[in-house]
Symmetry: C2
Subunit: 344 residues, 2 copies
């Protein structure tokens, strides 16, 4: 894609021309997609399967800062955020719609970058782009994505199925995306104060990658199918572990005992937390955007997951009266507060 | 709903509290809705039917002006715009997701007004609200709606099925919504220049209603089912008749001969067009937001629609080489230009 200073004004293409220009290189891969872009609505044909729908709205200045997020990464991440919600239902994403509102500050080339990222994510997660809307707006950029997935009715995992005795499990590691954001914000401040100073991102590749190019846990859902594991409840960790655990406990009408020792934190994230004078467990509990899966399993299923890579047992579901507690490495019991991201 | 000066800051509820507050009075009515709001994604169970999906993004300052659009009407219209796309596929809307981004200028009360309108439209069109996202934004309001509908595979009507000899049909009347907008814009200018002057909207109820509270043609699609009529192509008229006719002709690879005499225009719209020194047919061709249906039928089906109220035969599909023409009342032939709304 053209990286030099060519700038095509969005006006030159018109709305339909722009959509066509941005989407004509997407292919339809799903047999269930009967009609994608180009009519009033997309048409999907599902047999005996359930259809699962999730939607997210991403706003410049609230969810992303183009000072340090390349548009291609933003496009990729916008899709990841949505398919992650579908996986969190134990379903397989099949289609997405993407709508964008953009101010005239954006050129066609910048939108091409955005859509290149969306395209890469569609390829990675094997989903079809089936529609959307493109419009102008007075300021900034807003991206709205709806993801549609499929699962058998009895495969779908809700937030409300956890019961006392179930094991609390976490995929991957937590807190790194939040710390990646802290680094990027710090470098942005330094840049603002000392323009020209090159950002110091050495040795922080993993953390920054977790913020800029997160992945949804497609592999975990595929593993569940393979080992025939049906979690009792599940949610994706987009707003921090504490907030997600609260959702599961509230909807399942249970409590939880989380073991600090069991919460997976990457060594680079451990180090960086200390450098920012933050407690690593706080970053895992309250930092967002990890897009890992938090799920509970019946204790009789423990053999199925015990030796799986990147699946960690981090506690147990308890009776509601016993609250939602953290058992620290020091042996203390603390109440966990639901925090997570507050966008208001 | 409280109409006095109570103002609850959006911050006071938090994101989850706000969604809950705004959506807890919506009921699930569709048997196909297994899970609505409250999990990572909605779950829909469709049998042998096709799923149809459409999405729209509405931006303050581009698609609506809150200086004269009450929030309740805006909520209603946002849903109408989307279900209209589903009807235009000859499908029945079943579910919607609604995402909104709002600046802190909006109070909870104003959002309640918006959702009251959404709720009224859900009731009118018998659709379930099954999910969405609510977030803040630096400025204004953006509404993103995805509508999901259902139809048998062989019932679905695309834009690409028109063939020479087919009759061009239009439901309802055209141009009034555009003229309603002209009146509202005029009154806004007068208000800006002479604050306190009450708007002069007498005798313009129909036109202004078409702009502020449009309806989608659910009744027409129900009639098609009842009289067993399968249009050969169909599109909803959101961007003006000319633009929609171009879509059908382009995708069907045909031309069209439109009869000016056959294009339905309401008497109030006729009068108002002349008052604004506009040609009524131009308002119908290039004015948007009527949300009527433009469709083509096989000539052998003419008996089925001939005596239906509010269905007008307005021309004929012709060979592509013959172009897209308007046959005026004066007997002249003009090329039709695709205009419609340009949001860029």
């Amino acid at each position: 894609m053209d990286q030099n200073n060519t700038r095509t004004d969005v006006n030159s293409l018109g709305e339909f021309g722009l959509i066509d220009h941005l989407t004509n290189f997407f292919e339809i891969k799903q047999p269930s997609t009967i009609k994608g872009i180009g009519d009033d609505a997309a048409v999907l044909e599902y047999g005996a399967m359930c259809t699962v729908v999730s939607t997210d709205l991403l706003v410049e200045g609230i969810h992303f800062d183009l000072a340090y997020v390349p548009l291609r990464h933003l496009g990729y991440k916008s899709v990841v955020v949505n398919v992650s919600d579908i996986y969190a239902m134990n379903a397989i994403p099949k289609q997405i719609t993407v709508s964008i509102a953009i101010s005239n500050r954006y050129s066609v080339e910048s939108l091409e970058e955005l859509y290149a990222g969306i395209h890469a994510a569609c390829a990675e997660y094997n989903v079809d782009l089936i529609g959307g809307d493109t419009t102008s707006c007075p300021k900034g950029m807003t991206i709205s994505i709806t993801a549609i997935g499929q699962a058998e009715k009895n495969q779908i995992v809700y937030r409300n199925g956890a019961k006392p005795g179930d094991l609390i499990c976490i995929s991957g590691d937590l807190g790194a995306a939040y710390l990646g954001l802290q680094i990027l914000e710090r470098e942005k401040r330094i840049w603002a104060e000392h323009p020209g100073v090159q950002p110091d991102l050495e040795g922080q590749k993993y953390i920054i990658g977790r913020q800029l190019k997160p992945e949804a846990r497609k592999d975990v859902i595929e593993t569940f199918r393979r080992i025939q594991l049906q979690p009792t409840s599940m949610i994706d960790i987009s707003d921090g572990l504490a907030s997600e655990l609260f959702h599961i406990c509230k909807q399942s009408n249970v409590g939880a005992l989380l073991e600090e020792d069991g919460v997976p934190i990457h060594p680079e994230a451990q180090m960086m937390a200390l450098q920012f004078k933050l407690d690593p467990i706080t970053c895992a509990l309250s930092g967002g955007e990890d897009y890992e899966l938090l799920f509970t399993i019946d204790p009789s299923d423990i053999e199925k997951i015990k030796y799986l890579p990147e699946i960690y047992i981090a506690g147990e579901i308890i009776e509601k009266e016993n609250g939602i507690k953290l058992h620290t490495k020091g042996g203390n019991l603390h109440d966990i507060k639901a925090q997570g991201w507050q966008h208001f």
